[in-house]
Symmetry: C2
Subunit: 116 residues, 2 copies
């Protein structure tokens, strides 16, 4: 019934000690996150972002290769990030760019194979 | 700088041996996936789905509590599913419903805590 075929590589990333001012507003996060997707080489299909009050952002980018997702907690300088790719992309370049742009002091990342 | 605060619970789920006819088209997958989100008690903010040719679907649901994501491979009866929740939701009810609706013969699921 099933095989061990790998369908996607899923990076689960936490950015710690981020600059709160960089992750508070959609205007900033949307710009940076879309640029990260472009840097990875992903093909962006659609995206949307939601502003939480008083602060915090959720964003999703649907890419041809699967998806990017981000959730931010500015009050704690915390970002949870997902990059799920079924294609050839440089996910690490996107992660490195996001770490730099959000001023993260530390990064925790796990790579999970999504397989049958 | 960091704490062990848990920001979200992330279910990574693979549905194996699904009925291909149930996961081929946006029309079917969108209806079922939105119903799964409702069953979990999530508050749906926005959603979109993309049809791949000749078959296969990607779908994202942005919820107040974080997000749902789905990618299907009808040719293999395979579905990769994510439920990321920062609130009180019955994610297991959603997973059980999707297993039933897609006719999955087996489910593999992992729960990852997204923490600081």
């Amino acid at each position: 019934m099933t095989s061990s075929k790998i369908y996607g590589h899923h990076y689960l990333v936490e950015l710690l000690g981020c600059d709160p001012s960089r992750i508070q507003q959609v205007s900033t996060v949307e710009h940076v996150f879309l640029e990260a997707a472009r840097i990875s080489g992903a093909t962006i299909v659609e995206h949307f972002f939601k502003q939480y009050e008083p602060e915090g952002v959720t964003g999703i980018i649907l890419i041809s290769e699967s998806h990017f997702a981000i959730h931010t907690w500015p009050e704690d300088g915390f970002v949870a990030l997902d990059i799920f790719t079924c294609g050839t992309m440089d996910s690490q370049a996107a992660i490195d760019f996001l770490k730099q742009e959000f001023g993260a002091q530390d990064v925790r990342q796990r790579l999970v194979e999504r397989h049958g």
